[in-house]
């Protein structure tokens, strides 16, 4: 139904065209989902957009053909292509809010689409719009149709965007990470709904994502992309249970699991942002590389069956790859020695934020304890108050009820803290793009922490300490003069980690520090935080919505919902035998890649 052959895309650059997609081929069938997996910089979004005829500014298609039900997309003129986009191809973007016009009500937007592209009358279009809202399981379609985008939640907006995409009865839909940033349970519902709609309406779908677990759930066929080329493709469950390409294996190894204890293994290095010719693009990071891998770029060849393809010289000889044992990551300590009193104790905490009418009680009576050196996880969905608890600990949010104690002594409710208290509790924020001052160099960012919290050091000692901590977080000291805009996402997060640990705190709060990162970067950051923690004996409060990540790192887990405790306990107990219904619901919503080999080689 949709065939893509030999697609290559390059970006114009001062030094000549820069190839970012190389000879991509895929086929999508009605009622089936083709998953396209890859990390940031793999070229997957560029490739898929180019496949449907859309090129961002500066990009040039250097070859290939795309055929949708007999029509060749690249050979028709722009007007004809636009008509095709309007009627037979749909695109659901990552951020729903950007595909909806904020100035119009939701119902009006779909109605306009239907009236223009399917020639319906206003009444017909209205009825059809409501039907579409019902199909995407939006509650009370009449009321939603009257709302503006800013009056709806993220999940509702994403469903509305999907309804918009379905409105013109397309033959092909492209989904570009449409569930990023949504709660686990919302994500699970959306994915299940998408799968159902695709099959019911016999639409062909291309689903782009970096999340292999999600793709395992939603796609029938899988393409793994690296450096602009497909490195492995085939039926999804076969690839996920018996990967043949080392990169696929590395991605799976980096995935934490909520179902059992894993040690996610990070992948060192950075993917090249372009197509590499003349050698295997993955060779520099590949544990199975041999000298021959650097001499030529392997072809994508069938292995096993005609639909399974791998781009690896050693694929046949290596066979299906098994999970690597986690190295460099020390075992979790079984139990923390019971101290007489916990390092930090939170008792019946209440906090709110906002002014006047918009005042919201975010935390309504949460209690938790953190012992010295312990790793405690705080799990909840958005709106659970987990971030607010972290901020109350460092004094950014006022304590309105209950008490927080450090070493038995209560902390001031209005947020005032002594220097020693501030040193003892440090926080790392989620988004390193906004948590580092863009006008400060790495040296200034980490150095400020040193100046404030370790004033006893002399200038020379401080410089030595700075180089030491940068080495600990595996940042080249040469980067210390750089600004955040000159660093990658992973590097920026390392700077934030360095900044927190250099103060020699007793507790570090990690507020969703791996959310929104690629899975290999995520694993590397987790490894790093664990190493730092063990090196300095710091306690960790790990705030996250991701149960899989939490399981791989925590010694004790607290689950919160709407500002209240739900359940707590060690992960084995909580995840295997959850007592609360909410915990069970959260666990059920987690998506994991299925696979026989996974289970057989569980550590």
């Amino acid at each position: 139904m949709f065939q893509l052959k030999d697609l290559s895309v390059a970006y114009r650059s001062p030094t000549g065209p820069l190839p970012v997609v190389g000879a991509l081929a895929l086929g999508a069938m009605q009622g089936r989902v083709v998953g396209i997996a890859g990390e940031s910089g793999s070229g997957k979004t560029t490739a898929v957009l180019a496949a449907i005829g859309f090129l961002p500014a500066g990009a040039v298609r250097t070859g290939g053909a795309a055929i949708l039900e007999g029509t060749s997309l690249f050979e028709i003129g722009p007007a004809a292509r636009r008509r095709l986009w309007a009627t037979r191809i749909s695109y659901v973007a990552q951020d729903a809010a950007s595909s909806l016009n904020p100035a119009y009500r939701l119902g009006a937007q779909i109605r306009e689409l239907l009236q223009v592209n399917r020639g319906m009358s206003r009444a017909e279009a209205h009825a059809e719009a409501l039907a579409l809202f019902a199909a995407v399981r939006l509650p009370e379609p009449q009321r939603i149709a009257q709302r503006y985008p800013h009056e709806c939640s993220g999940g509702q907006l994403q469903r509305a965007a999907i309804a918009l995409a379905l409105a013109c009865e397309p033959r092909l839909i492209v989904f570009d990470e449409p569930t990023t940033g949504l709660d686990v349970t919302t994500q699970a519902e959306l994915v299940e709904m998408l799968g159902r709609l695709i099959r019911e309406r016999d639409i062909a779908a291309l689903y782009i994502s970096h999340d292999l677990a999600l793709l395992g759930q939603v796609s029938d066929q899988l393409l793994i992309m690296y450096a602009g080329e497909v490195v492995e493709q085939g039926p999804t469950n076969e690839i996920l249970s018996a990967p043949r390409h080392p990169y696929t294996r590395a991605l799976l190894d980096a995935l934490p699991s909520a179902r059992r204890l894993t040690r996610p293994v990070g992948l060192a290095g950075v993917p090249p942002g372009r197509v590499i010719t003349g050698s295997c693009a993955f060779a520099p990071r590949c544990p199975h590389a041999v000298p021959a891998c650097l001499e030529r770029n392997p072809e994508l060849l069938s292995i096993g069956s005609v639909v399974n393809r791998v781009r690896c010289l050693r694929a046949y000889e290596l066979g299906p790859l098994v999970r690597r044992a986690g190295d460099a990551l020390a075992d979790r300590v079984g139990h923390v020695a019971e101290a007489t009193q916990p390092l930090v104790s939170i008792a019946d905490l209440r906090c709110s934020y906002g002014q006047g009418a918009a005042r919201v009680e975010a935390v309504s009576g949460v209690s938790l304890d953190i012992a010295a050196g312990e790793t405690v996880a705080l799990v909840g969905e958005s709106g659970s108050g987990k971030s607010t608890i972290g901020r109350a600990l460092v004094g950014l949010v006022a304590i309105e009820g209950g008490e927080i104690s450090l070493d038995g002594a209560p902390l001031d409710a209005s947020g005032k803290r002594t220097r020693a208290q501030r040193q003892a509790i440090q926080i790392i924020f989620q988004n390193p793009d906004s948590s580092l001052n863009p006008r400060h160099t790495v040296r200034q960012l980490v150095g400020r922490s040193l100046e404030l919290f370790r004033p006893e050091l002399s200038g020379a000692e401080r410089r030595a300490e700075l180089d030491q901590i940068l080495g600990d977080v595996r940042l080249d000291p040469m980067l210390s003069g750089r600004y955040p805009s000159q660093l990658s996402g992973g590097q920026k997060q390392r700077v934030a980690i360095a900044r927190a640990f250099v103060a020699r705190p007793r507790l570090v709060i990690c507020d969703e520090i791996v959310s929104g990162q690629d899975v290999s970067v995520q694993a590397t950051i987790l490894e790093l935080v664990r190493t730092m923690q063990q090196q300095y004996g710091t306690a960790l409060l790990f705030i996250s919505h991701d149960l899989a990540v939490v399981r791989s790192i925590a010694q004790r887990v607290y689950v919160v919902r709407s500002g209240r405790n739900v359940e707590s306990g060690p992960p084995e107990q909580l995840f295997e035998e959850p007592r609360a219904a909410y915990t069970r619901a959260l666990l059920a919503a987690v998506m994991e890649p299925a696979g026989a080999i996974e289970a057989a080689h569980a550590s």
Partner: protein, 276 residues
């Protein structure tokens, strides 16, 4: 260093602006040194057309127009620059604080005060105040500075507000940084873009404003060869010796257009690369 290189290398408009500013600035600053005659000497026949001795002719009292133009820019430029300094001295601390504290009493009070000042026609305001305070250079500088401050305050407050909710500001608060330190170390470096653009625009505005005040006779007095004053005096003689009024007017135009183009260029450039 690299800022200068980027400024020089930036587009036709920016380059024209740079040239104009350099020429106008050179005339204003160094003009008196190269003037062929004294601006006050009654050397020639009044209202003469240009001759080799008096390149732009003479004015109504027989003074060399060229020399007067060359000597007349200094005061305007100096006073305008001082006025801009006054503006920023007022607007930067208030704007930063109001933007950071957003929504509180301080913000409310200061913003309303700014609104009041902005709602009064600036010329009328200064006229009234000058009549009360007298026409010294100091009062001109202070009043011009005060009158232009609210707009800069607004811009800086807006720019700061956009930043105040960012995580790096939260991180600074969690570290226990005091408000002053947050304003200066964290926020100020991130608003240099709008700050410099406003500086250029306000300088322009102040030059024209002060020239206007002088034109109206509220600033420097004759026999000063200030450009605004020259235009005022030369108006009457436009039919006989137009250069008396036109030459200083062109000088004002060259300088202000140049500043305008240059600060546009700087603003575009800084907003692209300055902040993250």
């Amino acid at each position: 260093m690299s800022l200068a290189r980027r400024v020089v290398g930036g587009g036709l408009a920016g380059n024209i602006g740079l040239v104009l500013v350099l020429v106008g600035g050179a005339v204003a600053v160094a003009g008196p040194l190269v003037a062929p005659h004294s601006p006050y000497a009654l050397k020639g026949v009044p209202l003469e057309s240009p001759t080799p001795e008096f390149l732009l002719g003479t004015d109504q009292l027989g003074r060399d127009v060229l020399s007067r133009v060359l000597s007349g820019g200094g005061s305007v430029l100096l006073l305008a620059a001082l006025a801009v300094l006054v503006t920023f001295a007022i607007a930067v601390p208030l704007g930063l604080l109001a933007g950071y504290r957003g929504g509180g009493m301080f913000d409310g009070a200061t913003s309303r005060l700014a609104d009041v000042i902005m709602s009064l026609p600036p010329l009328v305001l200064v006229l009234i105040l000058v009549i009360v305070l007298g026409t010294s250079s100091t009062s001109i500088v202070l009043l011009t500075g005060l009158v232009t401050a609210p707009r800069v305050y607004r811009v800086l407050r807006g720019a700061t507000q956009a930043l105040a909710e960012q995580d790096f500001v939260l991180a600074a608060r969690a570290r226990g940084e005091r408000t002053g330190a947050i304003l200066i170390r964290e926020l100020l470096p991130n608003i240099t873009g709008p700050l410099l653009t406003e500086a250029g625009t306000r300088l322009n505005y102040s030059i024209i404003f002060i020239a206007t005040l002088n034109f109206l006779g509220l600033g420097v007095q004759p026999p000063s060869s200030d450009w605004g004053l020259m235009v005022s005096e030369g108006r009457v003689y436009l039919g006989q010796a137009p250069l008396i009024a036109i030459a200083p007017a062109c000088a004002i135009g060259v300088l202000t257009i140049g500043i305008n183009l240059l600060s546009d260029r700087l603003g575009v450039h800084l907003s692209r690369t300055g902040t993250a």
